[in-house]
């Protein structure tokens, strides 16, 4: 039953970077004493040392990082806030609740993992670049395309001829009264047919020319 009353927490502190070894030790001891006074037990410590910030905090570029894992009753957690806020050498702090099954991983292990992943990604990239350079020169089957073009032109000839013969037969049957208009239309398709024939002949002579 005692285990149920206490929960696991993690506190991260950022101290001023230029305190010196002795002062940082004293400050950390103060924090430890505050935790132990309120019935907490520290079971893991991880001192990162001086580390660069991602952005400026209070006109500083660096800070001393320290991480403690401790167990405490949840009601007494708020009593940690006052001494930490009043302490002027503590830049920032963060208290996080961690699950019971949480495995403690130090910063070094995270950095090792990140370095391994980076190395794997670099390897994959190199392999991809090698693979890309090899198969690219393959697509060179252009002469086939020319043969296909000639075939298409022949098909088009067959399609065009029956289409233009049909309108000639239909129009005179439907509209007999307006004789002038269909005559003009009849003349036009005939002229068009002649043009098409000339074009087709020229295409047959020189099949490379594209319409």
């Amino acid at each position: 039953m005692e285990n149920l009353e206490t929960t696991k927490y993690e506190i991260m502190l950022i101290l001023l970077p230029d305190l010196g070894e002795e002062k940082t030790k004293n400050e950390l001891d103060e924090v430890r004493s505050v935790i132990s006074e309120n019935g907490g037990e520290i079971f893991n410590e991880d001192l990162w040392g001086v580390r660069e910030f991602a952005y400026r905090i209070k006109k500083l570029d660096e800070g001393y990082y320290a991480v403690f894992n401790f167990t405490m009753e949840p009601g007494k957690l708020k009593k940690l806030d006052k001494p930490l806020v009043l302490n002027q050498s503590v830049l920032r702090y963060l208290i996080v609740k961690t699950p019971n099954s949480h495995e403690i991983i130090t910063l070094e292990e995270y950095e090792e993992k990140a370095a391994k992943e980076k190395a794997e990604e670099d390897k994959k990239k190199e392999e991809k670049e090698k693979g890309k350079s090899a198969p690219r020169p393959k697509p060179k089957p252009k002469p086939k395309a020319k043969v296909e073009k000639v075939e298409k032109v022949e098909k088009v000839e067959k399609k065009e001829e029956p289409k233009k013969e049909e309108p000639k037969e239909e129009k005179p049957e439907k509209e007999e009264e307006p004789k002038e208009e269909p005559k003009k239309e009849e003349k036009k398709p005939a002229a068009k047919l002649d043009d098409v024939d000339e074009r087709l002949r020229s295409i047959i002579d020189d099949p490379d020319i594209s319409l």
């Binding site: 991260m12 950022i14 910030f53 991602a54 952005y55 905090i57 800070g63 991480v67 920032r92 963060l94 996080v96 961690t98 699950p99 099954s101 949480h102 991983i105 910063l107 995270y110 993992k113 990140a114 992943e117």
Partner: protein, 70 residues
């Protein structure tokens, strides 16, 4: 990037229940070029893990591990 139909949450697949704010290399995969949090339809995370991710990213920002803006 997996296809939209068959894709699964990155954290459900690897069984990462608790997302640690100290794991900077993992967190930066789910932030954009300008260090903004990537929305769910790009990150592919389920709702439960996306919420945990956002808290982890915000904690890491407060502690100066990743930046707010580029």
């Amino acid at each position: 990037m997996p296809s939209y139909k068959n894709r699964k949450c990155h954290f459900c697949e690897n069984q990462l229940e608790h997302i640690d704010y100290k794991n900077v290399s993992l967190i930066e995969k789910f932030t954009s070029q300008y260090f903004k949090i990537v929305p769910r339809y790009y990150s592919g995370a389920c709702l439960k893990h996306q919420k945990k991710l956002t808290t982890a990213i915000k904690n890491a920002r407060i502690m100066g591990l990743t930046s707010f803006i580029r």
